[in-house]
Subunit: 153 residues, 2 copies
Amino acid sequence: MDTIDLSLVELLRGNARLSYAELARQVGLSAPAVHERVGKLESSGVIRAYRAEVEPEAIGLGVTALIGIIEDSDADTDDVLEAFRQIPEIESCYFMAGVESFLLKARVGTIAELEQLIVRLNRTPGVASTRTGIALSTKWENRPQPLEPPTTS
Amino acid sequence: MDTIDLSLVELLRGNARLSYAELARQVGLSAPAVHERVGKLESSGVIRAYRAEVEPEAIGLGVTALIGIIEDSDADTDDVLEAFRQIPEIESCYFMAGVESFLLKARVGTIAELEQLIVRLNRTPGVASTRTGIALSTKWENRPQPLEPPTTS
DNA sequence: CACTCTCCGTGGACACGATCGACCTGAGCC
DNA sequence: GGCTCAGGTCGATCGTGTCCACGGAGAGTG
């Protein structure tokens, strides 16, 4: 994980479809060298996936909600987590410090679907209560921040 | 935006680095046809970007926080938003219904940096108060959900 | 110091993919 | 019927991905 790897990661965070040849030009190496480095970044788990970022409304997911979850005092957190994993509408899941154990980001098509989702969450064993906030609009999401060299001072 | 476009979007959400030739095989069209369709999806804004998804810890961003913002009663929301846009640590920004006008997702390297960020947010003109929750771990993030055909009923 | 091992790179070769232009086909409309 | 347009296929060309053999720098060792 040196400076060149960091540059590659930054370039691919900006545009995941850059060709190896183009990456090679940008970092001053040959294409095979870049190919190997990126392969190692992938298999070591630094790069998890390459995803197209899509306008949610265009694919029928116009409603975004952020949902805090309070667990029962005797809940098994792993079971709750596993139940959440089965629910496709939950796009992100954070385990939080504080009263609310989880914060979920969910996307659905309609308010009616959101209602169903909340009911389902409240029925999930181990869930004591939920608190839902509706996003009126997403100003931006997953904006990559510029990477600083390892000197994080 | 027909069934084939939807398939292309779904394939690219799963793996943004698929070649046009591979996409063409999957949807049963020729490579040039797919090339043109994807180009239109990009220029019409359905596909916003292609991003590599990176393990945040690997690039020195080990601390994730979710921050609710309450605005001053006389705040100019656009100005506040613009101020947030200048802060690189804010990866996502949702405009919310409810008491808290915004919910921000931020990533920083250390708790000390988080402290600085919160101070900066509280100093931002128009911001009355903030409420920060710390994510102890990210179980998953931006998981693409399976697309259903346009009949969302 | 010389030797060797390893890591990490380069350059060449070749198959595959991207992309352009020419052409084809079916739908809608005079 | 004959135009026109949208959106496809095919073929050709050129750039890219990817495999492989080779080479240089640096660490460890006699």
